[in-house]
Each structure stands twice: as structure tokens, then as C-alpha cells.
């Protein structure tokens, strides 16, 4: 059991001073059980990813059929412009659309939790409608509308592939962020905000100094989810993309016709390594500047 307790997520620095002892008694069995469950869930999440990493070193014709070990598939990243461009498009769109969704969703979530009224029902109804609509329906209805806006209404910005993809990806994500931010704030003590108001802080400053930091873990979680959902969005993307902006999931799906090659796994591995490096870097920077999820959030939010 103790070996499991010792296990650390990759990249977590070893620390001499552990967390302050919270319990006066030795850690009960329930805590250990929870740790085991938590680690098992992480293992479950990473299980297929380990397979993908292994198979990215496959030198065969098909991703799934192991031939022999080699680095050949990684050359695709430099040699195949279509793959590289698909990945770049996906990353750009993921960052932009999650920023849009986080911005809109956070404000909406705060309003839902702090300024409820009769409008709340309408708004929650709208959010539910967004989440329930099957993606294909979004896709077929959004495409003619964007073309109309771009060509006939003269808003040529909507002819850009990146803009179209950002719009398409931001819809569901906005709903997700709103839910999470609302769930964080609703019912949470409002006394801090009231105190700030009583001290004659203008509403803007109260919002920035008090509400945003309170909501920050939810904002970050919402951002992460939006980013992830956008990276995986296939159906809407396939419909709204224009020449030169095929995103990565659409490329992978359409490549099924002639059999997925190990290159696809290699790209995934490289992306994974880069993300883990980025996370490691962030963790390292944060270790030097503060701790606890909320503090981290505050640091990143600049609040």
C-alpha cells in the first residue's frame, strides 16, 4: 500500500517538506483507498495512450500491426506538409476557441450564480439546448449560415477557415464553462464580495479582485475542457473548414480509407511529449512562485 502512496504523477518534483499534517491520527484506510482509486483512474486514462506511444515506433504499413522498431514514422512530421498543417490548424483553433469560450462562459457563469433572476431559466435552457443538439445538426445548420454571413452579408471575416472553426468549436465549450463556473460559485458565501462592496470598491474591482479568484479553479478547468473538446472536434470541423484549414481529427478520420499509418501515432506522441514538457515547465515555475490550486490560478489570472 505504501508504495502506491509514494507514487507521484510524472513531472511532480520530489519535496522534502510534505504537506502540513492535517490529521492528528495516522492516515485512515479510507484515505489510502482513495489514493489507490485515484491512481487507478489515472492509469485507466493513460492506458491507451501508452499503447499509442509504443506503436508510434512501429515501422510497418499499418499503425495497429507491429512490424519492427524504428523512428521512421517520426520523419512524417517534417516530410508531410499536410500532417504538419493539420496539427498547427488544430492547435491554433483550440487555443482561440477555448479563450473565447472561457471568456464568454466565465461571465455567464458568474452572472448565473450571482445575479439570478427570471432570466436564469431561459439562459440555462439555452445552454442545455446547446449541449443536447447532436453535432451533425450544428454542422449542417452552421455551414450555410457562415457562408451567408461571409458572402452575402459581406462579413468576409467568416470566409476564413480559422474563424469558422473557432465559432463552431466555441458553442458547446461556452456552455461547459458556464456550467462549471456556476457550479463553483453558486451557494458559495457571498460575504467577501459584499465586504468588498461595503468598503467602496467599485464593482469592477470587486469582480477582478474577489469574484475572479474565487472562480479561478473553475475557469481553468473550463479552459482545459474547452481546449480538449476543440482538439477532438470532428463533425462540425469537417463541415465548416475551408481550403487549407483541415484540422487534425478530420485528417485522421478521412485517412481511414487507406488504412491509418504509424505516422498518426508518431504525431500523437510528439504532441503528448510537448504537452508534458509544457506542463512540467508550468509546474516548475509555479513551484517557485506559490502553491495550491487556487494560488496557482491566481498567479495565472494575474489577480
Amino acid at each position: 500500500m505504501s508504495t502506491v502512496d509514494e507514487r507521484r504523477p510524472a513531472g511532480a518534483p520530489v519535496r522534502a517538506d510534505g504537506p502540513p499534517p492535517r490529521n492528528r491520527v495516522p492516515r485512515p484506510w479510507t484515505d489510502r483507498l482513495l489514493t489507490v482509486v485515484g491512481v487507478l483512474v489515472l492509469a485507466f486514462l493513460f492506458a491507451p495512450i501508452v499503447v499509442v506511444i509504443v506503436y508510434s515506433f512501429n515501422e510497418g504499413r499499418l499503425l495497429i500491426a507491429w512490424d519492427h522498431f524504428g523512428f521512421g514514422s517520426f520523419r512524417a512530421l517534417t516530410e508531410r506538409p499536410a500532417i504538419r498543417s493539420a496539427v498547427v490548424v488544430s492547435l491554433q483553433v483550440a487555443v482561440l476557441s477555448s479563450l473565447v469560450a472561457t471568456l464568454l462562459g466565465t461571465m455567464a457563469g458568474v452572472a448565473l450564480a450571482r445575479r439570478p433572476g427570471r432570466w436564469t431559466w431561459w439562459f440555462i435552457g439555452l445552454l442545455l439546448l446547446v449541449s443536447v443538439t447532436p453535432e451533425i445538426v450544428d454542422a449542417v445548420s452552421l455551414l450555410p449560415w457562415l457562408v451567408y454571413l461571409g458572402n452575402d452579408a459581406g462579413l468576409s471575416v467568416f470566409n476564413g477557415g480559422i474563424v469558422r472553426l473557432v465559432v463552431g468549436h466555441s458553442l458547446f465549450s461556452t456552455a461547459v464553462v458556464s456550467y462549471i463556473v456556476r457550479a463553483r460559485l453558486v451557494g458559495l458565501d457571498e460575504s467577501l464580495e459584499e465586504a468588498s462592496g461595503d468598503l467602496y470598491a467599485p464593482p469592477g474591482r470587486t469582480f477582478r479582485r474577489i469574484t475572479v479568484p474565487l472562480a479561478m479553479p473553475a475557469v481553468l478547468a473550463g479552459f482545459l475542457l474547452s481546449f480538449t473538446l476543440s482538439l477532438d472536434n470532428t463533425i462540425v470541423s469537417a463541415f465548416v473548414q475551408v481550403s487549407g484549414t483541415t484540422p487534425w481529427p478530420v485528417y485522421v478520420l478521412s485517412a481511414l480509407r487507406s488504412g491509418l499509418r504509424p505516422e498518426i501515432a508518431a504525431v500523437s506522441t510528439v504532441m503528448l511529449v510537448l504537452t508534458l514538457l509544457a506542463l512540467g515547465l508550468v509546474a516548475w515555475v509555479l513551484r517557485r512562485s506559490g502553491d495550491s490550486a487556487t494560488d496557482i490560478a491566481r498567479t495565472m489570472g494575474g489577480g
Binding site: L42, Y55, L103, A111, E135, V176, I180, P203, G204, P249
Partner: protein, 306 residues
């Protein structure tokens, strides 16, 4: 994100209560409600000829009549099963994991843990699925492991079963459950739980009386975020579950894509949305009814002092 702050209004000017929700509302109206309204409009039309997809010069409710076929209900039954079982399992798996991350794991690692939950999903959906197939295939890793340990006699036979449907669904929807739960548990805070313990509550009582009720909005958010999109999804359940993961969204997609009958597809989409709304309503009512006696027992009535 400091830019989330709206321009500070001159000190006491009252903005309408929904002012902060206005940008999101407008965004969704322009890019979601307007296009979807056209879908509702199409649903009263028909498919003109072989190569047309929709026309609205003759309006009727015919498409709705066509929607209510036995296929729709048979498929919906399967969808409901996948939706309910998938959501319940996500909650079952996600709750302890989120609780551990938010409460029991060292505070300084929480941010990293939550990021680690998301990292696997930055690998493409199809590629992840292939990863699972390599693990679960009859000649795959798990099968080999189990056989070499003599835990099973024959090759593993789990792909394309209901179990595989659930593995696929839980795997792909878990972050939508864990993140809202994490955020909700995280806000409960150490002092509150300590106080509960100091007042003599046991661990379990603290969890059920303090932590859980305070985390309730997060549980609701997680359940909604998993159940509702899952009911409209038609890809996730089939990737590992094959024919067993047939979902009603597939009917809608097949009308739009293969049959190119946007009129019927639109009617189906409208019905699907309504049916899911009713389902959510029924579940919410059930949850409320079940919770009522509990709430009544623990209610603390504070009378206003005149």
C-alpha cells in the same frame, strides 16, 4: 483572465442582472439559435426530388409522423440505456477520483493532477480508440496477460459487447465528470470539514452532511455535462461497442448525410431534443422526490426574528 472583467460602470449605475451573461447569450443566439431555427423550419418541409435536400413551399407535419417509427423508439431505448448506465458509471468512477484530487492529494499537486486528467484527451479520439482496441482485442495485450496468468482460459472476448460500450463511453466522458466535481469539492475547504469533525461528526457524516451537499452543484453540473451530450452522441458508443452502441443520434445523422433528407433529419433532431428534455425533466423530478424525505429530516428552520 483579467480581461474577463467588464468595463467598470460609473459607480452606482445599475446594469440589468443578466448583463454579464449578455455576450455569451448573444454569441449563442447568433451562431447557434439562428442556424438551429432554420433546422426547425426545414422540419416542416419535405425532400424535393432525388438531389435536393429540403424544400419548404408546402408545409406539413408529415416528417414528424415519419419520425415516430418503431425504429426510433427501439433505438431510443438503447440510447437511454447507454446514457443512464454511462452517466452512472462516470459518477461512480469520477466521484472518488475527483474527491481524492481535490481533498486528499497534496495541495500543491492538485493543479498538476487535474491537468494530467486532461492530457490523454489531447491524443486524437480515433487514435485513443485504437489504443483501446490493441488492449482489448482477442489477440491484444490484456488478453495475453490474463491468459499467461491463467485467469482466463480462452482469448478475451470483450470488444463489441455492452461492457465495451460502457468502457468507451466512460473513458471518453470521464473528464466532463471529474472536472466539475473537482472544482466543487475544492471549494468545500478544509476549515469547514475540520469544524464538522470538531463538533463530533464522524468522517462519513462530515462527507454526507457537509461535503456532499456543498458539492451538489458540481455533481449536478457533471451529470448534466455527461448525460446530455451523451444522449446526442452517436460515435463514442460504437467505437468499441460496435452494433451494441447504436444511438438515436445516428438516425439523425443518417438522414442528413446518407439519405440527404434534411427535412426528415431536422424533424428527427427536433424530436430528439424534445425527448431528451423530457427525460432530463423526469430524472430531475425523480431526484427531487427521492431527496425530499432526506432534506426534510435534516432541515434546519431558522425563524426570522421580528
Amino acid at each position: 483572465m483579467p480581461e474577463a472583467a467588464p468595463a467598470a460602470p460609473p459607480s452606482r449605475l445599475r446594469l440589468p442582472r443578466f448583463a454579464l451573461a449578455l455576450p455569451a447569450g448573444l454569441w449563442l443566439v447568433v451562431f447557434f439559435v439562428v442556424p438551429i431555427a432554420t433546422i426547425v423550419w426545414f422540419s416542416f418541409g419535405y425532400k424535393p426530388g432525388l438531389f435536393g435536400t429540403h424544400a419548404n413551399d408546402v408545409l406539413s407535419l408529415e416528417r414528424y409522423r415519419e419520425t415516430f417509427s418503431s425504429t426510433f423508439f427501439a433505438t431510443f431505448r438503447n440510447t437511454l440505456w447507454v446514457g443512464v448506465a454511462g452517466t452512472a458509471l462516470c459518477l461512480l468512477v469520477g466521484m472518488p477520483a475527483a474527491y481524492w484530487m481535490a481533498v486528499k492529494a497534496p495541495a500543491r499537486r492538485r493543479g498538476l493532477l487535474i491537468a494530467l486528467v486532461m492530457v490523454p484527451y489531447w491524443t486524437n479520439f480515433l487514435v485513443r480508440t485504437i489504443g483501446w482496441q490493441v488492449i482489448l482485442a482477442p489477440q491484444g495485450w490484456l488478453s495475453g496477460l490474463l491468459q499467461s496468468l491463467h485467469l482466463t482460459s480462452g482469448p478475451l472476448d470483450i470488444l463489441y459487447t455492452r461492457t465495451a460500450v460502457l468502457i468507451g463511453v466512460v473513458y471518453n466522458y470521464l473528464p466532463l465528470m471529474i472536472l466539475p466535481l473537482f472544482v466543487a469539492f475544492d471549494r468545500v475547504g478544509e476549515p469547514l470539514r475540520e469544524a464538522s469533525k470538531d463538533l463530533g461528526a464522524t468522517r462519513w457524516r462530515t462527507f454526507t452532511r457537509v461535503t456532499l451537499p456543498l458539492a451538489r452543484p458540481g455533481i449536478v453540473a457533471g451529470t448534466v455535462l455527461v448525460f446530455i451530450p451523451l444522449m446526442g452522441d452517436y460515435v463514442t458508443a460504437t467505437v468499441l461497442g460496435g452494433a451494441r452502441g447504436n444511438m438515436v443520434g445516428q438516425l439523425v445523422a443518417s438522414q442528413f448525410q446518407t439519405a440527404q433528407n434534411w427535412a426528415l433529419g431536422s424533424a428527427m433532431a427536433v424530436v430528439l431534443i424534445l425527448v431528451i428534455a423530457v427525460t432530463v425533466g423526469v430524472f430531475a423530478a425523480l431526484a427531487w422526490l427521492v431527496g425530499r424525505p432526506l432534506r426534510a429530516r435534516h432541515r434546519l428552520v431558522l425563524e426570522e426574528v421580528p
